[in-house]
């Protein structure tokens, strides 16, 4: 995993874990990679992975079963969606509106483009190979 420079590594790790849960690669109830194993895989300090997992535990995306490890919460994907929707509404949508206003694009003009996009990506999403940006 190559880390971006504009976001703390622990948030990037939490983002990747969330991505795996959303796409179904890590299904509900599945045991997730231990702190140590993920630190080894990513070549980062285990404390960094721990911080990412703590965040996801606070968000109730993953749960700690004492002595057994960390697991994807039954409603983990739903929790992530709620959090991401909130962030989208607050941060990305205003930015998007600002851009289309600046470029004189009407929301209606985008309708057909969006429908096409949805059609093309639907099958991918169902098989869990969605290519999120």
């Amino acid at each position: 995993m190559d880390f971006k420079e504009n976001e703390p590594i622990y948030l990037q790790i939490a983002g990747s874990v969330s991505e795996n849960i959303l796409t179904g690669k890590w299904p509900p109830g599945e045991k997730i990679t231990s702190i140590r194993d993920l630190a080894i895989e990513l070549e980062v300090n285990p404390n960094t992975v721990n911080r990412a997992y703590e965040l996801l535990q606070n968000q109730e995306v993953i749960i700690n079963k004492r002595g057994m490890g960390l697991f994807v919460a039954a409603d983990g994907a739903a929790k992530i969606k709620t959090i991401r929707k909130e962030r989208f509404m607050q941060q990305e949508l205003p930015e998007f509106f600002r851009n289309i206003l600046l470029l004189d694009i009407e929301l209606n003009d985008l309708q057909s483009v969006y429908q096409l996009y949805k059609k093309e990506n639907k099958t991918n999403k169902e098989t869990g190979h969605e290519n999120e940006q």
Partner: protein
């Protein structure tokens, strides 16, 4: 875990390398010790390991003086020197002779580390290249499972795949009970492993800060134009300016360790003050 109190040390009477140096290191962390050539990094590490004796002051491991060199302390410390000495043994024989000194030594860890680092356990150590020798000793050091692991420039001489393996191994051996101190000039080799930054400069530890805190205090960036930005430190080239600013917005930027190090050793008081204040 390690407490250094008012340490003064010099190899001769006229010239002290440290003067009343104080430093406290906790378990569960990987410390990155940076300092210029000749600043005394290796000497400081040797004081921690009981290989050099303070002129004044103390170096304590879990409350016990290291310079007294009791066995109970020595068996809890492993020091990997920059220039290593290896005997004309195979790694297997070296372990048979030496592992006894470390009660928590794990032979199975040792052989798996050798394998990960691509070192032949049946090859005579001093007949190998410097890199292979170093890796054999890294494997040994990690396998001692001591609470204090000190490594002086461990990535020197390692090839690219070995550096990757080294990072993976370091990530795997850090536990809540273990303290790892690594001195390095190769900051890029280790920057996502080090969680606390130590800077040794002009006889004292100028900086001892968690990396997570450094990014809250300072921000790092490349600017084509720094007008109105009030950089604390900057390095210009034809494309623009690499700058360190006070982080007033709370926005994250990756720590540019090389830039920060240059700022500190060229005497940037403001940055040192910001990093010292709690």
């Amino acid at each position: 875990m390690i407490e250094i109190r008012d340490l003064s040390f010099g190899y001769n009477k006229q010239h002290l390398l440290f003067n009343n140096l104080n430093l406290q290191l906790e378990q569960g962390h990987i410390y990155g010790l940076l300092g210029k050539n000749g600043a005394g990094k290796s000497t400081l590490l040797k004081n921690m390991a009981g290989l050099a004796y303070p002129k004044r002051g103390k170096c304590l491991l879990r409350g016990h003086s290291v310079s007294g060199r009791p066995v109970s302390i020595l068996e809890e410390i492993y020091f990997l020197a920059e220039d290593i000495y290896v005997p004309s043994f195979t790694p297997s024989r070296f372990v048979a002779n030496t592992a006894e000194f470390y009660p928590k030594f794990s032979k199975s860890d040792f052989y798996s580390y050798l394998k990960a680092l691509d070192v032949d356990e049946n090859a005579v150590m001093n007949k190998q290249s410097f890199g292979q020798q170093k890796k054999a000793m890294i494997a040994f050091g990690l396998a001692t499972n001591t609470s204090l692991l000190i490594m002086d420039e461990p990535t020197n001489g390692l090839d690219i795949p070995s550096k990757v393996q080294f990072r993976k191994l370091i990530a795997s051996v850090l536990t809540d009970e273990r303290c790892i101190v690594i001195s390095t000039h190769q900051v890029r080799d280790l920057d996502s492993l080090i969680d606390t930054l130590l800077v040794l400069h002009e006889k004292e530890i100028l900086v001892n800060r968690a990396m997570d805190e450094v990014v809250e205090i300072l921000s790092f960036g490349f600017y084509t134009d720094t007008e109105g930005l009030k950089p604390l430190y900057e390095e210009k080239d034809m494309r623009g300016t690499n700058a360190i600013l006070e982080n007033t917005t709370g926005r994250f930027s990756k720590v540019d360790l090389e830039l920060l190090f240059n700022a500190i050793i060229c005497g940037n008081k403001k940055i040192v003050e910001l990093l010292k204040a709690s």
